[in-house]
Symmetry: C2
Subunit: 338 residues, 2 copies
Amino acid sequence: MNVYEIAKKAGVSIATISRAVNPETRSKVAPETLERLDKIIRQYHYAPNQAAKGLTQSVFNTIGMVVPHGEGFFMNEYYMKLLSGVADSLLETKYRFKLLMLKCADRKWDRYNFRAAEGVDGMIVTHWRVVFSDKSVFEKLGIPCVMIGDPERGVRASFVSADQEKGGWLAAQHLYGKGHRRFAVVTGGAFSVDSQLRMKGFQSFLRSRHIALPKDRIFCGEFQEDVAASAVEKFLKTKPKGTAIFCFNDDMAYGVIRKMREAGLRCPQDISVMGFDDDSRAAACEPPLTTVRVPLYDVAKQATRHLVEKLASGAKGFAGHEELLPVEVVVRKSVRER
Amino acid sequence: MNVYEIAKKAGVSIATISRAVNPETRSKVAPETLERLDKIIRQYHYAPNQAAKGLTQSVFNTIGMVVPHGEGFFMNEYYMKLLSGVADSLLETKYRFKLLMLKCADRKWDRYNFRAAEGVDGMIVTHWRVVFSDKSVFEKLGIPCVMIGDPERGVRASFVSADQEKGGWLAAQHLYGKGHRRFAVVTGGAFSVDSQLRMKGFQSFLRSRHIALPKDRIFCGEFQEDVAASAVEKFLKTKPKGTAIFCFNDDMAYGVIRKMREAGLRCPQDISVMGFDDDSRAAACEPPLTTVRVPLYDVAKQATRHLVEKLASGAKGFAGHEELLPVEVVVRKSVRER
DNA sequence: AGGTATAATGTAAGCGCTTACATATAAACT
DNA sequence: AGTTTATATGTAAGCGCTTACATTATACCT
């Protein structure tokens, strides 16, 4: 069933059908006609062909979510929350949602015509550096894009993220407030912007209290539980021993706590541990983890909301939009008062 | 950059470009020409417009995943695994992947032209009853569909699922093997096909050992932790008291264990509890949960693989394909030997 | 050489829409 | 009544492809 057939059934021209079917042009057709057409359209279950629509208007009512191309990518809480946020944000809009799993190797993505070739009106981008390389790619792509997370230095992008730096600052403040003065940190990957920001915030608070964080108290945990665990050994050799370890994500905190337990130390009685993220294990594990809550779901939701607004406004040019959602310390039992 | 422009740059006709760009027709153009064209195509980053392609061929290189329209839908492990399986299965194919969140209310979906209106070549369907009502909808939809999970009675559908019934049977066998003779079960929703199958398998084993499962030992937990927890009270009043509770999912098992603990009973010393699903908490909780592992990720992966094959074969007609993946008992510590 | 099969490329129609423009009708002026 | 303006609808072109069919060039026959 296409416009021609429906138009014939209704005894009007295809133009009138088209007008009746599109919210923006409905006002151009007479109310009585509209009523009659609606009935017929419903009766025959007519729905316009999206391909034809895309061809004439270059609108697809679809947004793309760009993720790196890799096995098992969604099998984690991070993506579960992002996906959930994007999906929920789109619920009451006209937009569908397409996953674009892009091979890092194909750096052609930087000059790829996403709109025409993928049929998307806009994009949510989750991993800038893995997929793109041109720092002003978003200005050139000719399609509205919003990044989730902080772009790296020099990248011109609209983004929504959580306030990672503030999170680091708050973690330090919390530990300090509980009487801790000698810290160690377990960081994420060396190139992770998140990791850098968390560190920056943490250090910033310490400096304001004239506390130093010696190099030998900084361990790189690569955001991985096992790698973080292996740092515990070195930590235990430092003198004077620190009283609190701040891990840049919860996974690493679990690893550290486990390793400490194996070494006969209890958390928080012997050493306090703080995490970052507030993942689903945090409340359930032993001891329940004091951590910094990162509102990933809300970040994704907000990024998508913003993208949809951008799309609705029909804004052509690139406009950098930057938004940081607040984070907060969730106090549980892994940090002891001293 | 479209065919005309590229054709002009290359000094050939648009037909030749089209042939060069499509794997199936590449053999129709001379090797030397091909080489030259490939270079030019790459140079100008030409990628065919998907909408135009869709309009002429009705192929979109996209499959849809049908899920009910609702907030927070993906915020759970079940969907995380399904999504992950579908996405991974599509990695090395030409297909993209679109989420179709369909409002249950709009029963028009039964006669909706998904191909034209949504631009998908095939669909993975996750919740039959919530979205469709016509039991032979998949024969009529005119687009290949594969369901994930067991369709309800009478629904003509291709599907891939886990062997729920066998799972119920295995659970009974395991408990029996550990010396248990008096059971209670906490079921899922009354209309859940999964719940029914698990029950069927469980009962089937019991019958083979001439063990009865009295009505007052069957509690409906609606697959919800809290509802299941509230059944514990009633359970404790039954005489002679059962020695093992089989919960039809892990969430309910956690609820039951928690409630028992509140009543001063320990698991497994006082009562054994078995779950179903093997979700991510199962290994980590206290006590680690003995449960039936349901390979959701593999189910999704297999369903998608099958859909892609169907698409590749170009099979027009509806062909019912039924596949059950094996489940297994994961032995941990919530079931005690007696 | 003349005829025929084969290969490479080109021409043009058409997929189902949207929309600028043309037309027709009615209402509101002078 | 004649002219203008507003409203409703129709006509036809064009979006960027694919592909049936036409054309041309080349090779292979007898």
